[in-house]
Amino acid sequence: MDKLMETTLSILAGSKITLEIFAATLAMSLPLGLLAALARLSKIGVISRLTELYIWIMRGSPLMLQLLFVYFALPLVGIKFDPLPSALLAFTLNYAAYFAEIFRAGIQSIERGQYEAAKTLGMTYIQTMRRIILPQMIHRVLPPVSNETINLVKDTSLIYILAMNDLLRVARTIVQRDFDMTAFFIAGVFYLAMTAVLTWMFKKLEAHYGKYDF
């Protein structure tokens, strides 16, 4: 029993870094993704195409490779980060690209009539985006954003490659040390608990935004 407690506490300690990466990535990649979506939709060709290139690179190559690149390849050109900032940089750039595509599709799904109504009422581009388009867009993109967010919880396990002691790496260390699979089960329960909380939160958000049902 003591053994089980000790394993759980170790894994709990490991989940701290998992949650840190998760929360920080989300906090940075959502706004960055929105900016990238707007840049992608920009009428200025260069901006739109550069953003498209960025999104393609991020979505078209493995996150694992991006992690390795930031941590091992950037130092070769004199840019060196510790493991945590490296992980945050790679995760944020990667997830922002996915969010950008979700937001772009969401913005494009808003009827042209909404822009036209706002325009004939004299609203500027920024007012139209902030007051009319984005609030409706958020409602529509909640399900795919929810998916990506849950993916992010699981993707955090990739940071083991940078020798960071996250939830899964702690569990694996214990399993390899004790030849006992319990730690994996506990790790699984931890992941499921996190995704359950997220699922519940997104349900609440959807209900909140669904109050004017359209």
Partner: protein, 259 residues
């Protein structure tokens, strides 16, 4: 009435406007004027360019040639063969003098009826909520929807939504109202309430340009009717002239079809 209009202020002066889309030449030199308090109704077959013409008046579409003057100010004019639009404050001022009502209502679905009315006055005119609130509530009473002020648009019938859309445009206190087939998306039994609101607006001498297929409304409310076909004005006149004694064959054929 006729006389006060024919001497009234020129609200709109459209000269020889042309509009091309990539694959279509839509307007071939449209000219007309609208005076204060006048209700101009535009009729014509589908695809004749009525919506495009209306949308050129408030720059939802940009003209390729010609000029548009709103209350003496140029929205667009020709300078050395190219079209130049007003800019900055002048542009905002010109566009701000026109309100528009769309076929599809285009209410903001994430805002209540009242919020739909308050939005532009507060955001664009920077009015305080307590300044615009009584105006908005009065407008909702006028269109008979005060009791729906806290509902979301999705909960309203099409006719109610369109009346809110009219009130929303009026909340910006425009001098000219543009209507693009305001009743075409409605079930027949709901067109009446919207037309009633528009009739009341006309009775208050609002200057209106209305694209519609409602011939009875045109006959009754219009001061002048324009019949468009293939991007041209084929004929225009008073409702009596146009409906009673159309001169052009195209007009006659169109009117026969509508009856």
């Amino acid at each position: 009435m006729e006389n006060t209009i024919s001497n009234g202020e020129l609200m709109l002066e459209v000269k020889n406007i042309h509009k091309k889309f990539a694959d279509a030449d839509v307007l071939h030199g449209i000219s007309f004027t609208v005076r204060r308090g006048e209700v101009l109704v535009i009729i014509g077959p589908s695809g004749s360019g009525k919506s495009t013409m209306l949308r050129c008046l408030n720059r939802l579409e940009e003209i390729d040639k010609g000029s548009v003057q709103v209350r003496g100010e140029y929205l667009a004019k020709e300078v050395d063969g190219s079209t130049v639009y007003a800019e900055g404050d002048e542009l905002r001022h010109i566009l701000g003098s026109m309100g528009m009502v769309f076929q599809q209502f285009n209410l903001f679905p994430h805002m209540t009826v009242l919020e739909n009315l308050l939005e532009a006055p507060m955001q664009v005119k920077k009015m305080k909520r307590e300044e615009i609130l009584p105006v908005a509530e009065e407008l909702l009473r006028k269109v008979g929807l005060y009791d729906k002020k806290d509902s979301y648009p999705a909960r309203l019938s099409g006719g109610q939504q369109q009346r809110v859309a009219i009130a929303r445009a009026l909340a910006m206190n425009p001098a000219i109202m543009l209507f693009d087939e305001p009743t075409s998306a409605l079930d027949p039994e709901l067109t009446g309430e919207v037309l009633k609101t528009m009739r009341e607006l006309a009775a208050e001498h609002m200057t209106m340009v209305v694209v519609t297929h409602e011939m009875a409304f045109a006959r009754e409310v219009a001061n002048r009717v324009i019949f468009m076909a293939d991007g041209n004005i084929v004929e225009q006149g008073t409702p009596e002239e146009l409906f009673g004694a159309p001169k052009e064959e195209r007009t006659k054929a169109f009117l026969n079809n509508m009856l």
